[in-house]
């Protein structure tokens, strides 16, 4: 079966899903049809408007196979992605790697397993949200091809204090073809449960690769989930990520995403506030350098009354990099007493860098309070002068101020170990290339 006529990715031959459970076969076939029918997003697709994927589609990617990482060793892991003291699941090119994972400290009743195990069970989980219908070709591609990922079920009322850590390594040998990985994770947080989750995406290989990740989260009534995503893949990598969240009554979702690596990275969050009184908070930080392209797309869909959403994304752009932000807040008819606010702030530090930002409000109810704002600017020259007049060199002064702009995003992180790790990563990213033209 091939996806659709075309070159590269479009021509990829997708294996027949024979031998898999019936429900899964159905989803696989439907997803392939979806891609064939709708094709990959073009320039006229608003969600991809400033992110050109034409060149990417021309690359003849091959689906990755299970392997051991070659570009790094196990001992590097802690310094690269941190260690939070809880269970850690490591995936290499989208496949669960039991040798590098540790599943020892899992509380009783908490179900943590590789998705592959789950997929080969005959039944679809109580008709739950495994593989919802795709909204773009990459999600569909993931549904069609995914082999593995994490599957987590938190029983009602369970409060898990240590975070669960998911590590996704993109890896290839020097002579390997361009590899495509499709990790998929599913998290179901039962009523009034509490869990936190860290997803780290890394890669050290200089080979071109594509990580096409999807994470689905279902928050049942009163559940609380903290979700952290750190994307620090190699500068040869392409990263496409989607976090799809379904929130029921009075649930709370707090998300943080930090984008540092990849040549082209796109991170999308879609939140459906389906139950009354649900609350969501999204925070994002992106720091493209050189020729990196970072795109962040968020959709918060207020479907029920009395929900609250807060969103803050910040960007620091250097070199000839480009960043894109599109944040959509939808308030459906009947979603009264909605309170939504959204902010996107960008610091442009060099000529040649470009930012395209689009905060959007679509409101179909009248009893609402919604605001959004976007700003593009540069460092306050008065502040630079103040520091320089006290003997601090120009570059250092600028780095200090830039760091101050960024730290607002790190201070709110509830995991001290992650905060320390990111403080270092951010400082390294800032010094990676000299400031200014």
């Amino acid at each position: 079966m091939s996806l659709n006529p075309g070159t590269g990715l479009g021509q990829m031959v997708v294996p027949e899903p024979d031998g898999q459970p019936q429900w899964l076969q159905k989803i696989r076939r439907h997803s392939i049809q979806w891609v064939a029918q709708h094709g990959f997003p073009g320039r006229d697709d608003e969600d991809w408007k400033y992110t050109r994927i034409g060149p990417l589609l021309a690359i003849p990617f091959e689906p990755a196979r299970a392997s051991l990482p070659t570009s790094m060793s196990f001992s590097d892991l802690d310094s690269l992605v941190g260690n939070f003291g809880g269970p850690r699941l490591v995936f290499v090119n989208g496949f669960f790697n039991p040798e590098w994972s540790s599943l020892t400290q899992i509380p009783e009743n908490l179900l943590v397993m590789a998705l592959q195990t789950r997929l080969h069970q005959e039944e679809e989980s109580n008709g739950r949200h495994l593989f919802p219908p795709p909204n773009n070709a990459f999600t569909a591609l993931n549904s069609a091809l995914t082999e593995d990922g994490a599957y987590i079920e938190v029983p009602a009322n369970l409060r898990v204090t240590t975070p669960i850590h998911l590590v996704f390594i993109a890896d290839a040998e020097a002579d390997a073809p361009a590899l495509l990985a499709n990790p998929r994770s599913v998290v179901i947080a039962g009523a009034n449960s509490h869990i936190s989750l860290v997803e780290s995406y890394i890669g050290l290989s200089p080979r071109l690769s594509l990580t096409n990740a999807v994470t689905e989260l279902v928050l049942e009534q009163g559940a609380q989930v903290e979700h952290y995503t750190v994307q620090n893949e190699s500068e040869a990598a392409i990263h496409l990520g989607l976090v799809e969240v379904h929130q029921q009554q009075d649930s709370r979702f707090y998300a943080h995403v930090v984008s540092l690596g990849s040549s082209l990275a796109r991170h999308e969050v879609r939140v459906a506030l389906a139950g009354e009184g649900a609350e969501t908070q999204l925070q994002g930080l992106y720091m493209p350098r050189g020729k990196q392209h970072h795109s962040h797309v968020t959709t918060i869909d207020h479907q029920s009354p009395g929900c609250t959403s807060r969103e803050l994304y910040k960007g620091v752009l250097e070199g000839r990099s480009r960043a894109v932000f599109k944040g959509q807040v939808i308030v459906r008819q009947g979603a009264d007493r909605t309170d939504a606010s959204q902010t996107n702030k960008n610091l442009l530090l060099s000529e040649g860098a470009e930012i395209d930002t689009r905060p959007q409000l679509e409101i179909l109810a009248d009893d609402v309070k919604c605001t959004h704002g976007a700003a593009v600017g540069q460092l306050d020259e008065d502040a630079v002068f103040y520091l320089r007049s006290r003997g601090i060199p120009d570059k250092e002064a600028r780095d200090m101020l830039t760091y101050a702009f960024v730290t607002e995003m790190l201070e709110s992180l509830a995991l001290p170990a992650l905060r320390t790790l990111l403080e270092h990563s951010v400082a390294r990213q800032l010094s990676r290339e000299s400031t200014g033209p």
Binding site: L348, E351, I355, D356, L361, L364, K369, C370, G377
Partner: protein, 480 residues
């Protein structure tokens, strides 16, 4: 609330009468022959006919846009008559010879074609356009004394062909977009205005557009040129009869401001909005753009959009000259089943260019308002500055408001800010007023007026009065 909304939807459109004019109208349909016919009727030079035909050919290759946040049944472009003109009894030697019926129609609209001062001390020259053609232009002589050319577009083509040829399509080309190409192919008249070097236009200039005939589209074109150091304030008003079929209005406005010039363009748009069930009304699909060609030039758009079944336009400014300034002030009101997708485009190219956008939308009944705007800072625009503010007020649970700004910045010295808010009228504000004995309806009107005040104060005085009145008429009984 519901009874009030019902009252509101039954509000009257007082300009909905139609006048029985003897009209010269071409059969429905669009082809190269129709364009040749229009061009021939207007005795146009060959270059203009070629320009029209080129536009038509481009138009046939273009696809009608679908990205807009307004919805309408597909338009059958072959079912529209592209030329309708009140038949002149004879050629006019003076304003006194204007057809009395036309004159009576304008009197009824409250627009005097007599050369008189309308408010104490304020003089306004009017170009009156009915259906496709200009029927009268007032104060031409007095304007000519200072060198200002203000006449209908057709007249300009005959008498100032070189100027028209130089500037026509220089801001909005004949293939700019689907509707601009259609306009370029079939436009029939409009206003032309030229302010020579260093002249401050001694009075407000104004065009009054009136659609009268049925089954026609109105396609007029306005071109304003302000030479170095010149300045002008220009007003535009529009109405149409109540008809149960939708009528298309696809106009183009081009403004050119040279060095140190200033153009202020104000619109009070009150086309027939359709009835309470959303039947009929004007489709107002307009391309308006200004070019700040010279350094330190300034173009300012102010619009009050209360009419039309659908309003779809983005008056913009291309800030090419260093230090040039673009401004956009807008109030858009949608009630009943009206829809609006409007905003502004500010394209920063020159150094130290500044722009500001202030948009207020009010949605009532089933009204749907969208702000859509583009702020683009090119890599040459050192020191560019923009501030955008969009506020939406929602009245009624079936109304909707959307905000879609696009910000594209390619220079690190740019400062661009966008902020938007959406809410309903504050209960505490209403309570405060009612507690002081102000009836709810008056209080609401007061609050809405206050909400729009920042925009109204940008309007020339006469228009500000009209705009406030329009708004309160439109909101009558709409709130509870």
């Amino acid at each position: 609330m519901s009874t009030d909304i019902r009252e509101f939807t039954e509000r009257e459109y007082k300009y909905g009468f139609s006048t029985d004019l003897d009209t010269d109208i071409v059969p429905r349909g669009l082809s190269e022959d129709v364009i040749r016919l229009i061009s021939g009727k207007k005795k146009e030079p060959a270059w203009l006919l070629d320009w029209r035909l080129e536009a038509y050919r481009k138009w046939t290759q273009k696809k009608e846009p679908r990205w807009q946040n307004v919805h309408y049944e597909p338009i059958d472009y072959q079912d529209i008559s592209y030329y309708a003109a009140p038949k002149p009894k004879k050629s006019l030697a003076s304003l006194d010879e204007v057809d009395p019926e036309v004159r009576a129609m304008f009197d009824k609209l409250g627009i005097s074609l007599a050369e008189q001062e309308r408010l104490s001390g304020v003089t306004v020259a009017v170009d009156a356009v009915v259906d496709s053609v200009s029927v009268a232009t007032t104060f031409k002589k007095r304007l000519a004394e200072v060198g200002v050319i203000f006449c209908s577009f057709s007249e300009a083509v005959q008498n100032h062909s070189d100027l028209v040829q130089q500037y026509l399509g220089s801001v909005v080309s004949n293939q700019d977009n689907f509707f601009a190409a259609l306009n370029a192919a079939v436009f029939t008249d409009g206003s032309f205005c030229y302010i020579p070097k260093g002249v401050q236009c001694p009075m407000e200039l104004s065009t009054y557009f009136r659609i009268n005939a049925a089954d026609t589209g109105q396609f007029e074109r306005t071109l304003i040129i302000a030479e170095e150091g010149a300045s002008v304030s220009y007003l535009e008003g529009c109405t149409a009869p109540m008809r149960d079929k939708n009528q298309l209005h696809a106009a183009v406005v081009e403004l050119v401001a040279l060095k140190d010039a200033y153009i202020k363009y104000s619109t009070v748009q009150n086309w027939y909005p359709g009835d309470a069930q959303g039947q009929g009304g004007i489709y107002n699909f307009v391309t308006k753009r200004g070019l700040c060609a010279g350094s330190n030039s300034k173009i300012s758009w102010t619009q009050v959009e209360t009419g039309s079944a659908i309003t779809w336009k983005y008056p913009g400014v291309i800030l090419q000259g260093d230090g040039s300034v673009g401004e956009f002030y807008s109030v858009a009101l949608t009630a009943n089943y009206q829809q609006a997708d409007t905003g502004s485009k500010m394209i920063h190219i020159g150094k130290n260019t500044t722009s500001s956008i202030l948009s207020k939308t009010v949605s009532a009944g089933h009204g749907q308002s969208t702000y859509r705007g583009l702020v683009q800072v090119h890599d040459t625009a050192i020191g560019a500055r923009n501030h955008t503010q969009c506020d939406s007020l929602l009245m009624g649970k079936d109304s909707g408001a959307s905000t879609f700004p696009y910000v594209e910045v390619k220079h690190p010295s740019a400062k661009v800010e966008h902020e938007a808010s959406t809410s309903k009228i504050g209960e505490d504000q209403l309570f405060y007023c009612r507690q002081r004995g102000i009836p709810e309806e008056d209080a609401t009107a007061m609050i809405v007026n206050g909400f729009c005040r920042e925009v109204f104060k940008e309007l020339p005085m006469e228009f500000a009065v009209e705009a406030q009145r329009l708004l309160s008429v439109s909101l009558e009984g709409s709130i509870g």
